[in-house]
């Protein structure tokens, strides 16, 4: 039997995800996620809204945070610091790819 085709969806700045989706997808506790929001490691659409909502790209950041917490046994503050370095590395890698593409 041929399985039905299911669309794979992107993480972007348009699609909205709920707080519950972030909690379920990350595997982090609500308290840990709240701390990450307080440290600025996760940025909700409207910080004063309740419940919070996010651009779907933050779901990947939340999953990375969960992996960092588990792999390095870090607390939320440690995770937020490492996330800022991860973001910087990704930005530099992107710049490097662009320069390599232009240089040939």
């Amino acid at each position: 039997m041929i399985a039905p085709v299911q669309d794979a969806v992107r993480f972007d700045t348009v699609t909205e995800v709920t707080w519950t989706q972030i909690v379920n997808a990350s595997g982090l506790s609500e308290a840990e996620l709240t701390e990450l929001v307080q440290y600025g490691a996760l940025v909700p659409r409207d910080p004063s809204a309740a419940p919070l909502t996010f651009e779907s790209r933050w779901l990947i950041v939340a999953r990375t945070a969960s992996r960092l917490r588990r792999d390095f046994d870090l607390d939320a503050h440690g995770v937020s610091v490492v996330l800022s370095y991860v973001e910087r590395i990704e930005s530099l890698e992107k710049e490097l790819r662009t320069l390599r593409a232009q240089l040939g």
């Binding site: 399985a3 085709v5 969806v9 992107r10 993480f11 999953r63 390095f72 790819r97 593409a101």
Partner: protein
Amino acid sequence: MKYKDYYGILGVKREASAEDIKTAYRKLARKYHPDVSKEKDAEEKFKEVSEAYETLKDAEKRAAYDQLGTHREGQEFRPPPDWGQQFGQGGMGGRHFEDIDLSDLFAGLAGARGRAPGGGARGNRPMAGSDYEAVVRIAFDQAFHGTEVDLELSALEWDPDGGVRRVPHRVRTRIPRGVANGEKLRVPGKGGKGANGGPDGDLYLDIEVADHPLYRVSGNDLYVDLPLAPWEAVLGTSVDLPTPAGTVTLKVPAGTRAGQQLRLSGRGMTRGSAAAGHLYALVRIEVPSVVDDTHKDLYKKLAETSNFDPRAHFVKETSR
């Protein structure tokens, strides 16, 4: 099922304290984490270390692990018949263990805590299914146009009595056009089955796009080298340029210089509803490696008659 010596993997004694176990794990995580380690087989070693820590850091799981007894690393064994019952998982009698490993056994035990009636805080409450992850390797053309892929995963499944087994999990999914190397995608509802009416988990895809021999990707833009003969660059020409969407005729203006980028608007990657990126043809001036006498004479004539000085700025810049 093969036995794994979790204490040995972390390098601690069986009677080690929780603090000793944590310290040992942190040391090994720093040494073998694939993001930071240059050690050989770091990823494999890190998996072993994190699997051991996942079990030994949890007092209940550690007690269950200790109840398995002591065996040699890699030795075939079976859990005792009553193992797992106290954690809400059914007894082990009559179960098959050939298709699961020790980490699956403990994943089953963790699942049993949430699923079995009265088995922990979650009881009969709805439980979302686990999320799965898979790496999907596609060719550049598949990334450019979008594609469909069939994935064959191996997933853990819980029996109604709390036992666990591995089952094939097949997913056919459509990858959108313009996907980038390293991008992550989500296939909603294609992870593990939820329990007690909880939603199914999602499948997360890590996309790896193979390099193309011609095109280089930068965001939504593409770059391709455009080799020109010296006379083509000087006089101008028309070139049949291959693009991912088909060959186009590119007009190269007279006086084109090496390193110049000729833009083909909208011929790059298309992502979602955003405007397509551009294709840049990067000019390279190639000279023939073998020149016969006739052509050598033509070059000599050109050298004698031309007053072009490509290094004129040397004089200007050094006489300041």
